[in-house]
Amino acid sequence: MIDQLINLWPELNKSFIETLIMVGIGLVVALIAGLPLGLLLFVTDRDLFLENRTVKSIVGVVVNLIRSVPFIILLVFLFPFTNFLIGTTTGPVAASVALSVAAIPFYARIVESSARDIDKGVIEAAIACGASPWLIIKDIIFPEIKPGLISGLTITAISLIGYSAMAGAIGGGGIGDLAIRYGYYRYDNFVMFTTVILLIVLVQIVQYTGDYIAKTVKKN
């Protein structure tokens, strides 16, 4: 068994790093694009200070549209776009294009829903102070939802780890790819179990770290 593990090690190592690359890029893009999008969804909502029905419905429809396509189909559907952007459709970086596209609306909805939990009165009090919309977003909404943003990022990360297995299956690499190649095509249960255990450990670590950071930034 030790021999098996030693034999597998280089491959396992490579896969693990590929998974981290895919999930990492997806998360960064989710944060950069999903966060503002989620805030936009929130502040343009009814009775809020930047209420705008047109913007809200357009963004809402686009978000729902992407979220309603099953990920494996989204992957294939985005091949031309990925090819145009990266120049190839295989490898972890190429796979991260589809992962990012899926992660943006996913995280945006999480941001929106944690913003909805803010006491509307706090926003109202800020308006009564004569604060500008930008200041309210930056100085009131953002700090209030910070723990929620981090928990949301944890949830997104774990979803992305799951998605990355699918991306792996069609040429993205990563742990999922390893599991399918050895476990599914070669009936190699050892590799199968090892990858599953690795994924479990990875998810646990992500969840634990996320919870810990969220707790640290919660200030009240």
Binding site: D119, E124, A125, A128, G130, A131, D139, P143
Partner: protein, 347 residues
Amino acid sequence: MISLEQLSKVYQSKGKTVIGVDDVSLDIKKGEIFGVVGYSGAGKSTLLRCMNILERPTEGKVMVDGIDLMTLNSRDLRKARQSIGMIFQGFHLAMAKTVLENVAFALKASGVNRQERKRRAQELLELVGLSDKADQYPAQLSGGQKQRVSIARALANDPKVLLCDEATSALDPNTTQSILNLLKRINRELGLTIVLITHEMEVVKEICDRCAVMEDGKIVEQGSTYEIFAAPENELTKRFIQTVIDFRIPEKILSERKGTIVHMTFKGDSANESIVSDLLQGYNVRANILHGKIDYIQDQALGTFVMELTGEQKVVHRAIQDLKEKLGEVEVLQDDRSADQSLARAE
């Protein structure tokens, strides 16, 4: 300071039209504490929120310190709001900010630089008596302390007006009293005009110079707090006053009394004079006090007494006439029934 002209606010909700505020005109003078009372749903909160355009009136004019708020663009409106402080029933503090940061936020909104923000915020916390809590978070404070923080925040930009939306309704009586004292103090010291809405007549009695009573979006009665308490005209006003000055006598007690029962209100100086005792001596009428109370409103005495007068019918009538001339407010609650009783006995 604040003048509302024919203000109306109509909501469209699920195809139905709901009238929040119905053609209200109001003038609030500089430096006074003005109270608006009413039951929930009377539209008083909406009225208050129209005063800084947190709700945009459907019709009418809102003038605050000579500026017509309805005509301002959003930038100028923000500027105008900086000189209109507001506090709320639910305090509405940012939970992720310290006490100091909450106060400093209002200063940030008006573009004050960092150092000045800190200095000024500390000054304000001192004013509301919370300088030792500067670095705590709102969740660590009691309700009264939270309201003090929100007062400090509301005062940050030296406003001319302070709007209080049920500011004491969530507080216990002791804390309410201390917040009212604070409001009174800043009204005196800073010359701040305060508008407060409440469903507690006690609050109005305690600090308001003038007040208005609202029902179904309309103002049904307004005047100086003392006059409203001394001579309420509207039924609703009377009911509100009864919550503070209750002179109702239990039916059972009334039915046991045979003499003429009168209700008298003594205003101002007359509350201090010995009108009643003079009268009783002069008329040979015996008086039995069933209820009596002297309230001090705006530092003026307001006495309310319910008495049973017994004696010869004619004399009692003359005594009541005389009381009416001297006091103005005398109401006969129950006529003499000793005659009925004797008739009943004769049968």
